[in-house]
């Protein structure tokens, strides 16, 4: 439940700069002392800040890089427990050391383990790890978009933030807005009859309005090969921001399903803790017909994810396609065919197919023909972009494009992400980005008429839907591709959708 210390470390690859690496540290001596008392002679003292920075950066591969095998760090015997690490210091090994990496910074903490570390308990038995991890995520939110210098300047603010979020190192609140309300100390007057929740210490004053958004995502990897099955799934998130006067109100709403899209059932709902009750089927999965889902909740003031859901696998992906690429020495022949599924709303805010040539930039289009859309080269000159928005041709939902692209000589290995490294020679993919407003493939929507607020009041309601491609790839038919498919003999054993 508690932490021994919190650090924010700047990722530095210069060994002589460890002194500058720690941007912030906060030690909770009471839990350090308890830890000493519990561990006795096995206790590992916390090192000085520069030494800790050095050890953490080494363990995470930020100092010596990952190019060289180092037994202490890379041995196969070390079991990965991310976000938990074992940090090797001159005093011994610090565990369970929690690290969250974001934007060149490492947010770290060392939880207190009341049952002792000898033997090491499993992480499921250490609540401090979960609370520490959540607190670090909160800190990343609090300091989002802040530079290292700004963070150093805000040391005082961080102390204050932590004094409310984790007094004495015992985590108490992990919602940024809620903690900041406590830091600012401008609380609303409690009602005489009801108790005020700790996660809503301030009341809204102003216009009453409620925003509800359903964002449905689809991801797909298509190979267009007989021996490899295409992969796709659809999932969604309902986001809510309720600016309603008064201390606490209860909102009831229904996620209904219209006849648009494929009308697939939504399953595997996971809900925000503020949801007081959901329909009786919340834990029943694997249903085969669409039905409305009803939720009752007391909204906090900040924007929050009301629920996440998954959609039973649709029969086909929204857009199917085939991507062919032949790379010759200095040029590449590209051929793409895309087909829009009949059930998908043909009205795109964005619809672009990106074909990256990261290692062969700058590229130049030599020849191009397409029965629809425009072909252009991205501003970085590394990606071929086929823009298909705002819609596929009305009477012909299959579009195709072919082009010859002039390439520069290969710039060698080791560039970019691991997937970009994979893409050498004929290994290539095209990635589709699209967004459709007021549509979801599952047909889910917020039934505005079903929304009830108690105690009742007038408010402005805004309901939005969007359908977005999250990771949508077509692998080159003529190259190798990344595949992970269940052996066919096991597919019928699958109890829940992957």
């Amino acid at each position: 439940m508690s932490l021994q210390a919190v650090w924010i470390i700047r990722i530095s690859e210069t060994k002589s700069k460890y002194e500058d690496s720690i941007l912030f540290s906060r030690f909770y001596q009471t839990f350090i002392k308890k830890s000493k008392d519990i561990e006795g002679s096995h206790y590992v003292p916390l090192p000085s800040n520069p030494e800790l920075a050095k050890a953490v950066l080494f363990e995470l591969g930020h100092t010596d890089g990952l190019e060289k095998f180092l037994v202490d760090r890379d041995t196969c015997q070390k079991m990965e427990q991310k976000p938990v690490y074992e940090i090797n210091t001159s005093n011994g090994k610090l565990w369970p050391f929690v690290v969250v990496e974001q934007a060149g910074l490492l947010f770290c903490c060392l939880p207190f383990v009341p049952q002792g570390l000898n033997p090491r308990p499993p992480l499921i038995d250490i609540p401090g790890v979960t609370l520490g991890f959540t607190l670090l995520c909160t800190l990343t939110d609090f300091l989002r978009n802040k530079s290292s210098d700004e963070i150093e300047d805000r040391t005082g603010d961080l102390y204050l933030f932590l004094s409310q979020a984790a007094p004495y190192g015992s985590v108490l609140d992990t919602i940024v807005d809620s903690v900041l309300a406590k830091v600012n100390g401008k609380f609303s007057v409690p009602q005489k009859t009801a108790k005020q929740p700790a996660w809503r210490s301030v009341s809204h004053k102003g216009k009453n309005q409620m925003y509800l958004t359903i964002t449905e995502y689809v991801r797909s990897v298509q190979y267009d090969r007989e021996n490899i099955e295409d992969v796709w799934d659809v999932y969604g998130t309902v986001t809510c921001k309720a600016e309603l006067e008064g201390t606490l109100r209860t909102v009831t709403l229904t996620i209904a399903q219209s006849g648009e899209g494929e009308g697939m059932p939504i399953n595997n709902l996971i809900i925000h803790p503020c949801v007081q009750s959901a329909d009786a089927d919340i834990l029943v999965e694997g249903r085969d017909r669409a039905m409305p889902r009803r939720l009752r909740f007391s909204p906090p003031l900040e924007m929050f994810m009301l629920c996440h859901y998954m959609v039973n696998k649709p029969t086909t992906p929204p857009i199917t396609g085939c991507f062919e690429l032949f790379v010759e020495e200095e040029r590449a022949k590209v051929k793409v065919t895309l087909q829009l599924n009949d059930n998908i709303k043909n009205n795109f805010d964005v619809c672009e197919l990106h074909i990256p040539f990261a290692k062969r930039a700058p590229i130049v289009i030599q020849e191009f023909s397409a029965n629809h859309g425009a072909l252009l080269v991205s501003s970085s000159k590394s990606t071929l972009v086929w823009n298909l928005a705002p819609r596929f041709p009305a009477r012909q939902t299959e579009v195709n494009m072919s082009a010859i692209v002039q390439l520069r000589a290969s710039q060698g290995e080791g560039l970019g992400t691991i997937e970009e490294t994979f893409c050498t020679g004929q290994n290539a993919y095209a990635q589709l980005f699209f967004k459709i407003q007021e549509f979801s493939q599952s047909g889910s929507y917020i039934d505005a008429k079903s929304i009830q607020v108690s105690p009742s009041l007038k408010y402005k309601l805004t309901c939005v839907r969007e359908y977005v491609a999250s990771e949508y790839k077509f692998w080159n038919v003529h190259g190798d591709s990344l595949v992970s498919a269940l052996p066919r003999c096991l597919c019928n054993q699958q109890q829940v959708p992957l």
Partner: protein
């Protein structure tokens, strides 16, 4: 203290970064100095706040048990002065926090000081219920009391009734803090009464403190009240309250955990990490008493779903996978006869193309735990296991990524620890061998993997087989692969050499290849040489000397004669001598890694060989005055070669003198002096061993490596070629001496007669054929004029009384090979010679009746007398 609070804070921040702040706080009076700032109204509250934080973090370093009283009392005094200032809210909270923390750190929990603080804190909590504007102060006081009670159960317990009453009255968001404190007090009460059922709550020093009574009904009601109000709490506070209450219920026989059931059923649908963990925690603590089998199955399904839910971020999913691992281990420990619930959802853990490398590894751990290959007759389980590795393996195979490889080897090791059946082991071997065939830089991973599975002591055959496969892969490496990846290959060879079950003939062939090509592969580096020798040592120690005797001798001999590094030669010599002269056990005892290097290296070779490794006989070298060897020069051959092979132009004629000059920079002249060494007839040794011929260094030529001869018997001889690289084209004398070992194991040294190389031996025709564009005049100008770093050359003229016929004869006998051009009647003849290191001698001979005028040009002034002597010899001796 002169510095302002703000200055001190800036210093604190800098010192925290450097880690030197502890020195400052070790000063006993520093804390007292800081307290003075707290009284100073001119200091900013934010600065005072940060100073208090530093005092909380580091104060214990300097504050003693005597001075803590003074510090805490002072801080409380400051608190009393500032408590009603609304703008000082955070400052006064930090004052209480620092006081509480110092009391705990300094073990003052049983002191009057602690009582004083507790009274102060209780007053804040009880007297200001629902008071607006005091929320943060009351929250801080509640948390302080909670920490004190948690650290020393009973210390706040005397105020239980008031505090519970306040808890029920409080309506603001502060209610949560009161509930946390109440739950903690109840836990303490149950714990203390269980330990001492008959006695009241007693504090130390024998003082009976305030007593209270709490009957079971009250307790049950309060627990219910707290659980009912859980929706009012933040997620973290929910876990904390539930954790405390579950401890209470575990201890108490009067309370049932069923109170948590509805809460748990609600929590298991949540996306919150903390809340879901609360449900898991309750299930772990009260397994079998709270949830039905179906409900537990739902919980586990939810857990498995979270590991794979695309809406959750990657770290969240990885953390839930760790919980799943813990849950599975818990199921295994329970030895439950039911089928594992986690295993029912095992296909959730099958890696997906959408997963990152880290997520794939986490899922592979789970897949490995959930499949059972022990009785896998239809092969389905094994196919799941192998198939699950496919995506990661492909990623490694196509990218050579170290990150992906590390994950793959970790997965393989984890799988091997649980599924070490022969079929799967073969698949693992295939994986590993395939990877290193394509990426030598994965060899360290492979070796670590092999070592790790060996350490498991499950099946030593697998270890040997895997190592053997890796060995075979290295042996099959092409020349190009060896050139680029030899350091990795040597790591495998080193490991293999220690393995008696693997045949080492091919290892030694591989090492021979490295030794023969050491110059090209790694410029005959010390590192390479010693790696080869280390492997030889491993072979000798682990395989004995007999099995590979001739292969080892051949390799060591090659190293000691040809390897271009003295230290490597010396060590090779030691090994070689040991090998040929000492018994197997002796060699092993000398070369054992446990043998201290100083012991083996400070002894004469001769003292090691007879059969003792004692230190009594250290190296002594006897100088032989009389002649022992005959050392004669057989022939001298100058040669030039192009050191930079990348130019690829050594065969082509330079187009011009400019091109010729450019090429000269890549050219080297070597004079090979072939000599013969044999023992003089009068020598008393029938044979000598470990003969090492050293040529003394000189300023006129580059260092000549030692020549090593294993053995020379009387009557036999050894021919050797000394490669001399002159730095100037002047005659040189090669002074040499020989170290050798006699049959008596004594080491001797003796000098040998000098071998000379004359100026004429240095003269070479111009390198490369001259094209028509090649102008002698331009070369002449280059030689006599300064050019870049080359100084100005020299011209000279000499007259010889020689007829045209005589000159023709001289030309054909002595000068023709240096000819560049001539008139048809040889009245104007031009010669050019290349001399070391990259210099020239140019001659222009013009016949004038009975006289030949020889005009000379040379770019080394020191060469003139030798050229002059050469011409004297040619024109006078030759014709007459």
């Amino acid at each position: 203290m002169e510095k302002s609070g703000n200055e001190i804070i800036r210093e604190f921040r800098a010192e925290k970064k450097k880690g030197s702040i502890v020195k400052r706080f070790k000063d006993e009076f520093f804390a007292l100095d800081l307290i003075r700032i707290m009284y100073d109204d001119s200091e900013k509250l934010v600065d005072k706040f940060e100073i208090l934080v530093a005092l909380e973090e580091y104060g214990h370093l300097g504050i003693s048990s005597e001075s803590v009283d003074q510090v805490v009392t002072s801080l409380l005094d400051v608190y009393h002065q500032a408590q009603d200032k609304s703008e000082a809210s955070h400052f006064v909270c930090q004052l209480l926090t620092t006081c509480t923390s110092l009391i705990i750190q300094m073990n003052q929990l049983e002191s009057d000081l602690c009582d004083l603080l507790v009274k102060e804190l209780v007053a804040i909590v009880t007297s200001r219920v629902n008071q607006l504007g005091s929320e943060n102060l009351r929250s801080c006081a509640c948390q302080s009391l909670l920490l004190l009670e948690e650290t020393s159960p009973g210390v706040v317990l005397g105020y239980y009734e008031e505090l519970v009453q306040c808890c029920r009255q409080e309506r603001s968001h502060m209610f949560q803090d009161y509930c946390l404190l109440t739950s903690r007090l109840m836990e303490s009460f149950v714990k203390i009464t269980k330990e001492n059922p008959m006695s009241p709550v007693v504090r130390s020093k024998g003082k009976v403190q305030r007593q209270f009574s709490a009957d079971v009904t009250d307790m049950r009601q309060t627990v219910s009240y707290l659980v009912e109000n859980v929706p009012m709490f933040t997620r973290s506070a929910t876990f904390r309250v539930i954790h405390t209450l579950s401890n209470l219920i575990k201890t108490s026989t009067d309370l049932s955990p069923i109170i948590f059931k509805s809460l748990m059923l609600h929590e298991m649908s949540t996306m919150s990490c903390i809340v879901f963990h609360t449900a898991l925690y309750l299930q772990r603590v009260f397994k079998g008493t709270l949830l039905t089998v179906q409900e537990e199955s739902n919980l586990v399904q939810r857990l498995c779903l979270m590991t794979n839910h695309p809406c959750l971020n990657q770290l969240h999913r990885q953390l839930t996978t760790q919980w799943a691992l813990g849950y599975k281990q818990f199921e295994d420990e329970q030895m439950d006869t039911r089928e594992s619930l986690i295993c029912q959802y095992r296909l959730q853990f099958y890696p997906s193309v959408f997963d990152s490398v880290d997520c794939q590894l986490a899922k592979l751990y789970m897949t490995s735990l959930c499949v059972d290959t022990s009785s896998d007759n239809d092969g389905i389980e094994t196919s799941i296991l192998l198939g699950s590795l496919g995506c990661l393996h492909k990623l490694v195979w196509h990218t050579g990524s170290m990150l992906a490889a590390r994950a793959l080897f970790r997965a393989l090791y984890f799988i091997y620890t649980r599924h070490n059946n022969p079929h799967f082991s073969q698949d693992i071997q295939r994986f590993v061998r395939g990877l290193i065939s394509e990426f030598a830089h994965f060899i360290p991973h492979s070796i670590d993997f092999v070592d790790s599975i060996h350490g498991l002591n499950i099946n030593s055959d697998i270890f040997v087989e895997t190592l053997s496969l890796l060995h075979q892969q290295v042996i099959m490496a092409t020349g190009d692969q060896i050139y680029t990846s030899f350091p990795y290959y040597l790591q495998i060879m080193k490991k293999v050499a220690s393995q008696p079950k693997i045949n080492q003939s091919s290892t030694l062939k591989f090492l021979n290849y490295l030794s023969d090509n050491a110059q090209e592969i790694d410029d005959s580096s010390w590192q390479l040489g010693h790696n080869i020798l280390d492997i030889c040592r491993n072979v000798i120690i682990n395989q004995g000397t007999q099995l590979y005797y001739s292969d080892l001798c051949e390799l060591l001999y090659s190293l000691l004669t040809d390897y271009n590094n003295t230290d490597v030669q010396d060590q090779a010599k030691l090994y070689y001598c040991l090998l040929i002269a000492a018994a197997d056990s002796k060699v092993k005892s000398v070369l054992q890694p446990t043998q201290r290097a100083v012991d083996s290296m400070s002894q004469a070779l001769s003292s090691l060989l007879p059969g003792t490794t004692g230190k009594s006989s250290l190296a002594k070298i006897v100088h032989m005055e009389g002649p022992v060897f005959t050392w004669e020069r057989l022939c001298v051959t100058p040669q030039w070669f192009v050191s930079d092979t990348s130019t690829q132009t050594s065969e082509q004629s330079p187009d011009s003198v400019a091109e010729y000059i450019k090429r000269l920079s890549t050219l080297e002249v070597v004079v090979e002096v072939k000599c013969r060494l044999h023992l003089v007839d009068a020598c008393s040794f029938p044979a000598v061993h470990a003969v090492s011929i050293s040529v003394e260094d000189s300023l006129t030529f580059q260092h000549i490596p030692k020549v090593h001869v294993p053995c020379i018997s009387k009557g036999a001889h050894h021919d050797t070629v000394l490669k001399v690289k002159p730095l100037q084209a002047i005659p040189i004398a090669l002074n040499s001496f020989v170290d050798f070992c006699a049959d008596t194991k004594q080491t001797f040294t003796t000098s040998m007669p000098a071998v000379t190389v004359e100026f004429v031996h240095f003269m070479l025709p111009l390198p490369w054929k001259q094209s028509k564009e090649f102008k002698f005049e331009e070369l002449w100008n280059y030689v006599v004029e300064p050019y870049n770093d080359k100084p100005k050359g020299l011209k000279s003229v000499k007259l010889f009384e020689v007829t045209a016929e005589q000159f023709m004869k001289i030309h054909h006998q002595r000068l023709a090979k240096y000819l560049v051009s001539s008139s048809p009647d040889y009245s104007d003849t031009r010669y050019a010679m290349l001399v070391p290191p990259r210099s020239h001698v140019l001659l222009q001979c013009e016949g004038q009746g009975h006289t030949v005028v020889v005009t000379m040009a040379m770019d080394q002034i020191s060469v003139l007398p030798h050229v002059s002597s050469f011409l004297e010899n040619v024109f006078t001796v030759s014709h007459g």
